[in-house]
Symmetry: C3
Subunit: 330 residues, 3 copies
């Protein structure tokens, strides 16, 4: 499938993404990665198009990544900051979106603390036949598709820089460790990684990974998904380890006994990695609590950590997403 057969208008969730779509994203991102390594670094693909960055939940990292991606594509960017917005004046979120539509926004990148908001805006935009594209930049505990796609690009382009593709992850063992329950990153990654044929091993304390969790996941991929309440079975023979961020609010809400206890049981250390594959790599969506999810020295070890590559992949992957939905005619 080449980019001109891309038909998806919005990117809201990875739940129904096909392997072909994943591969198109990976190949497009690889192309943009080459552009970014070159001298020019910009392409005129979205010139004259307006990307509205609507971050109802504060974010610097993801917002900056999308902003830079849009600038590299030569789009005009409108930054929406909820603090000063009409929302405080009683306007609904759909009205805010309709205002940006009427101003001429072509793509809306939406983050909201409640699950489903990007979908609701997409439905309204479609109902109005607006042609606007919606990109979910993280909605509540639901999905964070661009994060999982940049993780996928990081993994596959490590394995084959010039031709990253889903097949490369077939049979790989990937451990996802930490606050699975509250993680939209984990949820999105579960879809993409199992679709690629990887074995995904989740590891967390029972409070952060309740028995019922698997019921929340689509059945189709269950045979590639494993749950552990201890770290070692997840790490054993793992090719990749993804540590998740432990949100401060969980730390103080009795989900874990203490940070030290959590680190002792589920923190990633050089010692614990000995049971993984010898060329194991570590990932983290950031920002990291150094010494909690992962030790400081591992995080900074370029032979082990893919954290910087994840951030770099973020720009090229988001360029790919904005480009694919921005130029499609559907």
């Amino acid at each position: 499938m080449s980019t001109n057969t891309w038909t998806r208008r919005h990117i809201l969730s990875l739940m129904d993404f096909s392997a072909t779509e994943y591969n198109t994203v990976l190949q497009t991102a690889a192309g943009f990665q080459k552009v970014l390594s070159g001298r020019t670094k910009k392409v005129p693909a979205l010139q004259g198009r307006v990307v509205a960055n609507m971050f109802f939940e504060p974010s610097t990292r993801t917002r900056s990544s999308f902003e830079l991606a849009a600038k590299r594509l030569s789009a005009d960017i409108l930054n929406f900051s909820p603090g000063n917005s009409s929302l405080t004046k009683g306007e609904t979120i759909l009205d805010t979106a309709k205002t940006y539509l009427a101003m001429g926004a072509d793509i809306m990148v939406i983050r909201h603390k409640e699950a489903g908001v990007p979908q609701a805006i997409a439905n309204e935009m479609d109902r109005l036949n607006s042609g606007v594209r919606i990109l979910n930049a993280g909605d509540g505990l639901h999905q964070h598709p661009s994060q999982a796609l940049l993780d996928l690009f990081t993994l596959t382009s490590l394995l084959d820089r010039d031709n990253p593709r889903m097949e490369l992850l077939q049979g790989k063992k990937i451990a996802i460790v930490g606050d699975i329950l509250h993680s939209r990153v984990a949820r999105s990654n579960i879809y993409s990684l199992t679709t690629a044929g990887a074995e995904v091993h989740l590891a967390a304390p029972p409070t952060l990974l309740p028995k019922e969790f698997l019921k929340l996941i689509d059945k189709e991929n269950q045979d590639k998904l494993f749950v552990h309440w201890e770290l070692d079975p997840a790490l054993e023979g793992a090719d990749f380890v993804m540590a998740l961020r432990l949100q401060k609010e969980r730390m103080t809400a009795n989900f874990i006994p203490s940070l030290r206890e959590y680190h002792n049981l589920f923190g990633i250390t050089r010692d614990r990695l000995k049971i993984c594959q010898s060329d194991v790599k570590i990932m983290h969506p950031g920002p990291t609590n150094r010494g909690v999810e992962i030790t400081s020295d591992l995080m900074d070890d370029p032979d082990l950590s893919l954290i910087s590559q994840q951030v770099t992949s973020g720009v090229s992957t988001r360029m790919a997403l904005l480009y694919l939905i921005g130029i499609s005619d559907s």
Copy 2:
């Protein structure tokens, strides 16, 4: 009058706008509307020029609209955010303006909660022979000229898309309903609409439209201006109904008995519109309190509501204003 005969340096108030000037704005906005409907959407008219967006009073909607208009004209934009500014360090507003002047600002778009601030800055800029242009983006209860001009463009381009002009509103009946007393939008619209020869009917409770109000308006247009303390006489036979935003601070300050009472007496509903012209259209400057100034279903009815068109007109009208003052040699 073509654009090259435009001589106004600042746009501060519509009080002394001539019909010729209104028509130049309308024609220029119509031209930019065509640009925005095309593929390119950008013109190099203000390339290298600096537009300083100085919103001392928070605003997302108007600020975004000006920002996008400036970007479509290829200007460079400086956004001033009062929260982090030198104002909190004891600097005067004129000093802030002089700092932006010295940095190279060519146009300053100014919103301030106190009436007269844009005028004061314009006076200082002229005294310094600076050549800087000032555009009032709303000052206290005084004026909001770009809002009234985008309303005018919305109305006249609805009546003749290819050739919007003042004469089209001759003899039309326009109701302005709501918090007239505190509305800079109403004040600006009263000048533009009566100059166009429309009949303007104001309707509000006496607390929001005191007897003395008319004395505040320039005498010249008084014969086209009517005041009502009930809704029906304003709506009867009306071609257009403009509902005004009810500010939260008025709601709690005894200006109205309650929101329900206000809505019962002055809220626009489908039923009440029956006494208007059959092709009546509704406007609102936004953001709307759904179910207060106007019912939700009316607001979303594309056959009745011009609210989206107003937002769209905002970008092309503000492009026209920035363009006209930005390229004039006066």
Copy 3:
């Protein structure tokens, strides 16, 4: 030395700046000043490069100046606002910097309330062989090199507009008046002005200029540096007077008895300037407390005040700095 021999990768402090480097900055700034006076006002020098404006301490004036400078050089800009940032999520400053590095930032402009932060980030960027350039936009009480360089450009281009250079300040007497102790502006200016061969006379109350202050300054320039606890000896025969900003927090912390008392003893007035050279000029880094450090009428007198020129010089000088570090191959 022409621009292609520039080898400095970061601009962190003026302590070890050579006369040749100062002159290269002045000549480059003069070139950009000409660009800004022309019609185009933009150069493509940094097209495709990313300038990250990382102001951990709020600032409108300096941030806007750097932002405009970067835009005039056609760079893409990422604005970092600490309020919404990952710092509040427990990330370290170095991690934030590494995130911007991984996103593709080429130059980081850094302001922080603690001395040494820009240096620490520069060290980390060098350790990683990143090629990123760091520009200190003010760190604690330490240094504010771009301010001192724009002051230097203001002074020397006043004396020879077409060929500003260090030699022009040889033997000039420059008074720096006010809160020397807490001023990073004073510290940076002391290095640049004494290197140029000017006599620098510091004047302040003993609380704001303790005896030990001179020990903090590098020995080399001590013979051109004089300390006074009264105003008149500093003003006598002065060619230039730099008033420093009195921070509100000092006003209330017993450093001075009262604002009136301070103004009586150290405020610059027309009367007191009589003992200076007849063509004396006054400077202030802004924002000014009118009537405290300097009287209002002096500040607005274009024959005496260079305050506007300082702001204008800020854009061209910062263009020069971004350009010199941005295009150097070191």
